[in-house]
Symmetry: C2
Subunit: 335 residues, 2 copies
C-alpha cells in the first residue's frame, strides 16, 4: 500500500478542516463537526445518527483481501463508529463505484459481503446506487436512532478519568507488514495477524452496553491507531493522557521480536484496528467493566486523563511522548 | 465522455438487481428497493428518508465543468430525488474521494460548491470524510423526515391518470453534445444549453407542493432521461403510457434543426435533467397545477396512463414506441 503513504503533506485532517471551513454551520448541531458521527434532532430527547465512510480499493484493500472481505470491511468501519458512540446501527445505504471489468461473480461477492457485515450487527442494507469508477469504491451511509443523553462523544474526558480499551493492539499493523513486506513467520501467528486485517470486528456490543451506563465520559474507536485516537480525545476534550500499560497482543510481541522491532510501535501507530478507546469516571469503572463483561467483552485500563495537553507512555521505567501520528491517508508520516 | 458508453453489456440496473438479490430484506420496508429513496419508520406516521448518490469525475463531470459546479451538482442529484418523493432535505454528509494532486484552492472550491448546493435547498452539510482515490468521487448521503402518507412513490400510477412534467426537455442532451462533440451554434442558444448542464436545478418547491396535495399517484425525476423515467414508473406501477405532447425546449428545437437531428430524440433519451415526471388523478389535475403554480412552477400534461405495458408517443400523426433507454452508466446503448 505504498499509495497510502503518498508524499503529499496535506493530511486528511487538513483537507476535512478546509472543507468544513467552507460550510455554513447548521444552528444547534447536536454533535459537532469532527466527531465520529453526525446527528439531526428527532424531537426533544432523540437524535437521528448518520455516518458515511468510504472504502477505496487502492488504499484500503490490502493484497489478498477478497471482494467479499473488502465489502464486509466497508460495513465494519462504519459500524465501529456507531459502536464508539453507543448507537445501534439500523439501516445502511451503499453507493458503489465499480471498475468496468467486474464479473457477475465479483459483483455477487460484493453484495454478499455487504449483507454479511450488516447482518452480523443486526442492520439491513435498504438502498444504494452503482456507478462506474476507476477504483473500487464502497461508500456506505449508516443510519440509527440514539437517545441524546446516552451518546458517547469525543469531548467529555475530564482530568482524573481512567482510560480503557476493549482489546489488545498491534495485530493489524503486524498483519499489514506481513502482507505488504512479505515478512515470513510461523503459520499459527501469521494466521492470527492476517485474520485481524481480513476479518475485523466492531465492538458494537461493548459500545451499546457502555452507553447504558453513566460511566463513560468520552469514546472513540481506534481505526486510525491507538496514538491517534488518544490525541483525538485529547484535542476534543482539551486534556492529555498518561498511559501506563499498553495491552499488546502476544502474537504482536512474537512478531516484533522476530523482526527486531519495538512492539509498542506496532500497538501505538497502527490502525484499521477497531477497539474502543474510552475515558471512564473512576468511581464508575467497575460499573463499566461489569457492563462490558456481561456482553462477553473486556475492558482494560491503560492509564488516566491528565491536564497537560500531551500523551505520555510510561514503559521500561521511562516516560515517552507518544507522537500524534497514525493511519491517515494522504499523509507522508503514516506508519 | 466516451467512458460513459463503455462496451460492457452489464447495465447499471442489472448490477443493482444482482446486488439486491444478495441482501436479506428488512421486514416491512416502508419504501421498496429500487425506488428513489430509502426509508426507516419513525413512529407510526413518519419516516426517516435516506438517499445516497455518487458523482464520479470520469463519467459525471463533462469537460469545462468546474469543481465548484461538479460539487454543487453532486448535491442537486440527491436533492432531486427527494424532490420527486416530496421530501424536504435536512442534512447531508459528504464522503469524498480526492485525487492526490488537488490543490488547497481546488479543495476549497469543492467545499464551497457542496455548501452552495445544500443551502440553495435549505439543507446543511453536517459531516463526512475524505479519502484518496484515482477519480474525483463525491458520494453524498441525504437525510430527511417525511410523513408516510405524503410520500410520492413510483408505484401508484393507475390507468386513466394523467402524466405531467415540470418543464421542457432536451437541453442537457443538446448541451452535452456541444461539449462532447464540439458542435458550434450561436452564443445565445449555446449558453442556455451549456448552462443546463453546468447549473442544474432540482424541482424541490414543486415536489414539496405536490406532496401536500392528494393528486399525485406516482413520481420520479428525469435524471436518467424522460423515456427511462416513464419506463421506471411503468414497471413499478405495472402500467404503460401514451404520450401525446412532448414539451421540447425552443433552444433544443433550434439546435436539432441546426445539426439535422430529431429534437424528440434529445428530449426523450437525454438525461442529467432534473424535471419531475408525475402521474396525477385526472379529477385533481387542477389542484396539482394550482399547487405548483403557487410556488412559481408549472405543470405540463404530456399524456395519460394506459393498461398496456408499453410507452407510446403520438407525434406527427403517427404512434411510435418509445424505447426503454436513457442515461445509464456501464451500458453500451446509452445516449
Amino acid at each position: 500500500l505504498e499509495e497510502l503513504r503518498s508524499n503529499k503533506t496535506l493530511g486528511e485532517r487538513k483537507i476535512i478542516e478546509l472543507i468544513f471551513k467552507q460550510l455554513e454551520q447548521m444552528p444547534q448541531m447536536p454533535v459537532p463537526f469532527g466527531d465520529d458521527v453526525s446527528a439531526y434532532p428527532l424531537g426533544k430527547d432523540k437524535l437521528a445518527i448518520l455516518k458515511t465512510d468510504m472504502l477505496v480499493g487502492k488504499t484500503d484493500v490490502p493484497p489478498g483481501m477478497s471482494l467479499w472481505q473488502a465489502s464486509r470491511k466497508a460495513v465494519i468501519i462504519n459500524i465501529s463508529d456507531f459502536a464508539a458512540k453507543g448507537v445501534k446501527p439500523l439501516v445502511l445505504l451503499a453507493s458503489l463505484g465499480l471498475p468496468e471489468n467486474l464479473t457477475l461473480a465479483e459483483i455477487t461477492e460484493i453484495g454478499k459481503g455487504l449483507n454479511a457485515g450488516a447482518r452480523e450487527y443486526g442492520a439491513f442494507i435498504v438502498g444504494g446506487d452503482t456507478n462506474e469508477a476507476s477504483d473500487l469504491i464502497i461508500s456506505l451511509s449508516l443510519f440509527g436512532i440514539a437517545e441524546k443523553s446516552k451518546m458517547m462523544l469525543r469531548s467529555g474526558a475530564r482530568v482524573g478519568d481512567l482510560v480503557a480499551v476493549t482489546g489488545f493492539f498491534g495485530k493489524t499493523a503486524a498483519g499489514l507488514k506481513i502482507l505488504l513486506e512479505g515478512i515470513k513467520i510461523e503459520n499459527k501467528i501469521r494466521n492470527i495477524l492476517i485474520d485481524s486485517v481480513m476479518a475485523p470486528h466492531a465492538r458494537l456490543k461493548e459500545g451499546l452496553a457502555l452507553s447504558e451506563t453513566d460511566a463513560v465520559t468520552a469514546s472513540i474507536d481506534s481505526s486510525d491507531g491507538l496514538a491517534w485516537s488518544l490525541y483525538e480525545i485529547a484535542r476534543s476534550s482539551e486534556v492529555g493522557f498518561l498511559i501506563k500499560q499498553l495491552p499488546v497482543a502476544e502474537e504482536v510481541k512474537n512478531f516484533a521480536e522476530h523482526i527486531g522491532m519495538d512492539p509498542l510501535e506496532l500497538a501505538l501507530y497502527g490502525g484499521e484496528e477497531y477497539e474502543l478507546v474510552i475515558t471512564v469516571k473512576p468511581e464508575l469503572m467497575d460499573v463499566a467493566e461489569e457492563a462490558v463483561a456481561k456482553v462477553g467483552g473486556k475492558l482494560i485500563v491503560i492509564g488516566k486523563v491528565i491536564s497537560e495537553k500531551a500523551v505520555y507512555l510510561e514503559a521500561k521505567g521511562r516516560r515517552y511522548t507518544v507522537e500524534p501520528k497514525g493511519w491517515e491517508h494522504f499523509k507522508s508520516n503514516n506508519v
